[in-house]
């Protein structure tokens, strides 16, 4: 067992070294904080604008509110994360932005399919809600990863299939994405209850769950970045 662990550590170290070679700019704790703050603020602004300027919210008009939020959130996320793209020398900033924009509908398709498979209604009246919800989910989950990693399969696999991020930036992408998914999954539980509240409708409570999960996960990811950054500094010393 001990040997195995050692082996694994070695493998990890090799992987780290290899990623460090072609790596992006490193992310300091302060940068991480500000990125998360801005992303969180993006959500808040979206909600605030919807509430105060258009006087609607997720319950009363889910489709339009969600559209507003993803329209606010996705450019913020794309522009921010593209700055930290992989291989900045070979890949221009604009290309990274383009990847993010491309990932938005593709990721939305994946999330929408996932939601439908898990039981989201498929009738026509729910279609705009599902589309806007999945676009929002996509801009929280897939757009950052696409902007940073592009089409690097090994990165995608490590982040989303293994959930094994191993540097600050990967923590910042991986943990909020998982937080949003888990939050949305948990948010679906009150739906079958017979309380007859308007927020039990698809996709209202799922959206709330996803947002709460996303925000909490950003806090957690910040913690990981701090711990991880400290460790890295010590290693360098």
């Amino acid at each position: 067992m001990e040997e195995e662990k050692k082996k694994k550590k070695e493998i990890c170290n090799i992987a780290k070294a290899s990623t460090a070679e072609n790596s992006s700019r490193s992310v300091s704790a302060l940068q991480a904080l500000s990125i998360h703050l801005i992303c969180g603020l993006g959500l808040a602004i979206g909600l605030w604008v919807a509430h105060n300027l258009y006087s609607m919210n997720v319950v009363s008009d889910p489709s339009r509110t969600l559209r507003l939020i993803w329209i606010v959130e996705s450019p913020i996320v794309t522009l921010l994360y593209s700055w930290f793209r992989l291989n900045p020398e070979q890949c221009s900033y604009l290309k990274a932005v383009g990847r993010g924009i491309l990932a938005l509908p593709v990721g939305a398709l994946v999330t929408a399919l996932g939601a439908i498979v898990l039981g989201a209604p498929v009738s026509i009246e729910y279609l705009p809600k599902t589309i806007n919800w999945s676009l929002l989910m996509s801009s929280c989950m897939f757009v950052p990863a696409a902007s940073v990693f592009g089409s690097s399969w090994s990165h995608w696999q490590r982040i989303f299939a293994y959930t094994k991020p191993n540097e600050s930036l990967e923590y910042m992408i991986c943990i909020p994405a998982h937080g949003a998914v888990i939050g949305a999954w948990l948010g679906a539980w009150p739906m079958p209850l017979d309380w007859e509240r308007p927020w039990q409708e698809w996709p209202v409570c799922v959206t709330y769950g996803a947002m709460i999960g996303y925000l909490l996960a950003m806090v957690v990811s910040l913690g990981f970045v701090l711990v991880h950054g400290g460790r890295q500094h010590r290693k360098r010393d």
Partner: protein
């Protein structure tokens, strides 16, 4: 070596012991928890006209008094004692099975729909002219015919297990109205549902029973009742005429509330009402006496025409009193239609109207609107009699109540103390309310004698009586009779013990297996950590289920949980499949093979996810959201041609899939051809039956259809048993090392050593073929029995299971065996709901349970109903036979120490133990939940039906596991025997 063999025996011993514990515990609990008998035995006699607690009166044996009296003397004795002159001499009780009161009286203050109004013109004219009063009579669940009839005639809410006896009706021995009528010498006639004859054998002087057996017959069943009507109405030798029309219920079962047959059926009922009413008006002046016509329904129906549950649509039954010839101002239409009562209130009302004692276990309260033509004195007397009866019933359940002493003469001195507030324990409250009413009544009587009575006093007395009656009635009907605590405790403990044994066995087994595995695959046990997430989730699912059982709406909507959980599990497996996929197509051969495998797994999981979603959308199950659109409703709207073509398509697809699965198996083509031929023949027989007979709603019972169905049963049954018995003997055994490779099990890990000791491959092949034969025969049977709309879900389920098998066969040691078995079990439960089942009794498909039966048989139709309801769990359990053959478990065994008994244990262990273990957890947990919820409002409507389902699932699991274990052991023994012989022969030759 010996330790492993004893361990196999030990395993079997422990499993059987756990099963015995579980069965004992379950039966103890069921008999302890569900009340079977009401409180009081015996029959109300003349003592019911005296106040309770008068020992001087009650001590005298009533039989002594009454045995000597002739019915007429008894009748006049009752009349003298009751002080209420009977208002009517004859009663016509017209029961319209399944008629919702909404059809006649409307809902929420609104009159019924226009077309329904038009369908019953005469009844509505009676209602609007004040000749009739209608009530929404709320029926208690379970809303099926026999318990409801019992409630109407005895006023008692029966035990829950009455449902179980609904198909085995037995004589009603408790005190009831009909018995009371018989005692005063009434002659009774019954026309209609033969349930009455079973409830009251030998009671009717004339009868013509019709059977509710042919559910698809909506015309003849009512004609058989109405044909005697004219004759009976012209006769004067009966006092009670019971008419029970079944047609409307059958219309509902076939086409739901909005069936096109509903209007004509209501019109027919209206004609009957008109005919009876006109004839009773005519005969009114003769000396035949006054006749009251009471039109009641036993229960309502849901939108789709089913019943059994406790929704408003099902419990909203009708009580319509025609011929009270009123009297007072019921001119207002609304006041004649929007009263609501309980169904049990009919019994005391009729008893008081006809001057017989109220049945002993009645919990109903008289319907005040029907006594309006009596004098104040008589009305109070009626209330008093009802209160005395209820007080006696309460007294029997609360012994502390009887210590009160009020004088038998009925006069109490302190007249003023009638209006105190009542509080404290239930005993005190009831006693106080009763005393209040009695005191007020006495003071009213006193004042009346002295000439000072006022309207105010009268009204407050009536209010006081009603308050007592209402409180007592509610308390009695909600009261769950005292539970025998030791019995329940012992039951729960036994079930918990068996649950622990199962869990212990599973942990023991998995520890044994996976330590072996680790030794065997010490190089690459890296996978262990990776697979933790879905294992944890599968255990978490059990926890989620147990927790969700405590919430009534989660119990009602259980299908959401299963679907959600299974899709999540598949997504987790998808994630695992992606993990082993290595991006670009590597040049290395190993990498290519791995990528190919994970591509295959990805496809399989996608197929599973999509078919699972379609299954989920097929029936909008549950209770609260049944009105939402789903595929089955959409198809039903699209018309029966489309449904039939879908049915045929899914039949053909099913056969195609079966043949494909058969020819995946290549070691012996001759045997496969025999199986395929048999399978095709029976498949086409089923399709023929569908083409010819399934669509004819109006054919009551076709002899040929029944015969064909019986032929199909025989073919499938004989074929399956024949295969199971013959296949292990016919499977050729090759001892040489050049055996042809199994196409699915292309594992290189099968050691030649085991192969030499035991022909593993032949064992696998036999299991595979037999498992396939089981599944295909089961699905064909379901194609015949299930509703046409369910044929596609059955195909999808079969496809899901095949896909899972393919996926599992490719996964090898990647997935742990218990995880896969548990996942299959979950799929079975989700499929159960996808076929339109729910946790209410209303969704049980009764119509299918009579296919192919030529005479009524409770046992056979019960078995068919079980087969229909438990299609999916049973299919999954049968697929375990196939699973054992496809799952490559040979890596589990360490070649040196392999032992044949050990091998059997490895093969059978998880597929049998995991379903039993999961089920025992759910059963035990739900038993505890039921105990905790015993005072919940929904205990009888939500939790108890669910418990019945849980119990039946347990039975289903027992049967399935037994079949799996028996089949595998049989195959093993035959093959081992044959290989031994073959080896000895070849040795002899050598």
């Amino acid at each position: 070596m010996t330790s492993t063999t004893t361990s196999f025996t030990k395993f079997t011993f422990f499993t059987v012991a756990a099963l015995v514990f579980q069965i004992t515990g379950l039966s103890l609990f069921v008999f302890g928890f569900f009340p079977v008998k009401p409180a009081l035995s015996g029959v109300s006699g003349w003592e019911s006209f005296f106040a309770p607690g008068c020992h001087s009166v009650e001590n005298q044996s009533q039989t002594q008094m009454e045995m000597g009296l002739s019915p007429y003397e008894l009748k006049s004795l009752y009349q003298d004692l009751s002080l209420i002159p009977p208002l009517f001499d004859r009663l016509i009780l017209m029961v319209i099975d399944g008629l919702p009161a909404e059809f006649v009286l409307g809902k929420d203050g609104q009159p019924p729909r226009k077309d329904l109004m038009d369908a019953m013109p005469y009844t509505h004219s009676l209602l609007s002219s004040g000749m009739a009063i209608g009530y929404h009579a709320k029926a208690a669940p379970p809303t099926v015919t026999m318990p409801r009839l019992k409630a109407m005639v005895s006023g008692a809410i029966g035990g829950f297990l009455d449902v179980a006896f609904n198909f085995n009706t037995q004589a009603l021995l408790d005190d009831n109205l009909l018995g009371q009528f018989l005692r005063i010498g009434w002659k009774m006639v019954m026309l209609g549902d033969e349930t009455w004859l079973k409830l009251f054998p030998g009671l009717f002087v004339r009868h013509d029973g019709v059977s509710s057996f042919f559910v698809k017959d909506t015309v003849q069943v009512d004609k058989n009742v109405s044909r005697h009507l004219e004759n009976e109405l012209s006769r004067d030798d009966w006092n009670l005429l019971v008419l029970h029309y079944l047609g409307l219920d059958h219309v509902g079962h076939i086409g739901g509330r909005s069936s096109s047959l509903m209007g004509p059926k209501l019109l027919e009922m209206d004609e009957v009402v008109k005919m009876i009413h006109l004839s009773t008006i005519q005969t009114h002046d003769n000396d035949r006496g006054r006749t009251l016509l009471v039109v009641v329904s036993d229960h309502g129906m849901t939108e789709s025409g089913n019943h059994g549950g406790s929704s408003y649509e099902e419990t909203d039954s009708l009580a319509l009193f025609i011929g009270l010839k009123n009297q007072v101002s019921i001119s207002h239409y609304a006041s004649a239609t929007h009263n609501s009562i309980l169904q049990v209130d009919i019994a005391p009302t009729l008893a008081l109207l006809y001057g017989v004692p109220i049945p002993k276990n009645n919990v109903g309260v008289l319907i005040s609107g029907t006594f309006d033509c009596l004098t104040d004195h008589q009305q109070l007397r009626a209330l008093e009699l009802n209160s005395w009866q209820l007080y006696r019933l309460v007294e029997a359940q609360l012994p502390g109540l009887s210590c009160g002493d009020f004088s038998c003469s009925g006069f109490i001195d302190d007249l003023g103390s009638g209006s105190g507030e009542c509080s404290g324990s239930m005993e005190k409250i009831l006693r106080c309310l009763f005393m209040n009413a009695a005191n007020l009544h006495n003071s009213w009587k006193y004042k009346k004698e002295t000439g000072f009575e006022s309207r105010e006093d009268y009204r407050s007395t009536v209010t006081a009586y009603h308050e007592f009656l209402k409180t007592a009635s509610e308390w009695l009907s909600r009261r769950v009779t005292d539970k025998p605590v030791p019995l329940l405790a012992f039951g729960v403990v036994a079930m918990a013990l068996s649950c622990l044994i199962f869990l212990g066995l599973i942990t023991c087994m998995s520890r044994e297996v996976y330590t072996g595995e680790k030794q065997h695959l010490s190089g690459s046990s890296n996978s262990k950590i990776r697979w933790c997430l879905d294992e944890a989730f599968i255990l978490g699912v059990v926890l989620i289920l147990v927790m969700s059982m405590g919430s009534s709406s989660m119990v009602e909507e259980e299908q959401y949980i299963w679907n959600f959980v299974i899709s999540t599990l598949y997504l987790l497996l998808l994630r695992k499949a992606v993990q082993s996929h290595s991006g670009r197509s590597g040049s290395a051969l190993f990498l290519k093979a791995q990528n190919k495998r994970s591509d295959f797994q990805l496809c399989a999981i996608f197929l599973l996810l999509i078919s699972g979603r379609i299954l989920r959308g097929w029936h909008q199950g549950g209770v609260n959201w049944t009105h939402l659109p789903d595929i089955s409703k959409w198809l039903e709207q699209a018309g029966s041609n489309l449904i039939r073509s879908i049915q045929l398509t899914s039949g053909l697809l099913m056969m195609g899939l079966g043949l494909f699965a058969l020819f995946l198996f290549v070691t012996n083509t001759k045997l496969v051809r025999v199986v395929a031929l048999f399978f095709l023949i029976s498949g086409f027989l089923v399709l023929w039956h569908i083409m010819e007979y399934q669509d004819n709603e109006f054919v009551s019972s076709d002899y040929h259809a029944t015969l064909l169905a019986q032929i199909i049963y025989a073919t499938l049954g004989v074929g399956t048993i024949g295969f199971v018995v013959a296949l292990p003997w016919l499977m050729p055994i090759q001892i040489s090392s050049t055996y042809s490779k199994h196409k699915i099990n292309s594992s290189t890990l099968v050691s030649v050593d085991i192969q030499y000791k035991f022909p593993l491959l032949e064992f696998r092949d036999s299991s595979y073929l037999i498992g396939l034969a089981y599944m295909l025969c089961w699905c064909l049977l379901q194609l015949l029995l299930q509703q046409p709309i369910n044929s596609m879900p059955i195909f999808l389920l079969l496809m899901q299971i095949f896909t899972s098998m393919l996926y599992y066969s490719s996964s090898g040691p990647q997935n742990k065996e218990w995880l896969e078995v548990a996942l299959l079990y979950y799929v079975g439960m989700a499929g159960h709901f996808a076929l339109g089942n729910s946790n209410t009794l209303a969704t049980i498909d009764v119509a299918g349970a009579f296919i192919g039966l030529s005479s009524h048989s409770t046992l056979l139709s019960g078995i068919l109903m079980f087969i229909i309801t438990y299609t999916s769990p049973m299919l999954v359990l049968l697929s375990m036979v196939m699973y054992i053959s496809v799952k490559d478990t040979s890596y589990l065994a360490i070649p040196q120490s392999v032992d044949l008994e050990q091998f059997l244990k490895m093969m059978l262990g998880f597929p049998c133990l995991v379903p039993l273990g999961l089920n025992s957890i759910l059963l035990t947990a739900y038993t505890v939940v039921l105990l905790l919820m015993r005072n919940h409002l929904f205990v009888w409507s939500v939790f108890s039906p669910k418990y019945l389902y849980v119990c039946t699932t347990t039975v289903c699991i027992y049967i399935g596991v037994f079949v799996v274990a028996a089949t595998e052991i049989y195959i093993y023994m035959v093959i081992a025997f044959r290989s031994k012989i073959q080896v000895s022969i070849s040795n002899g030759i050598l």
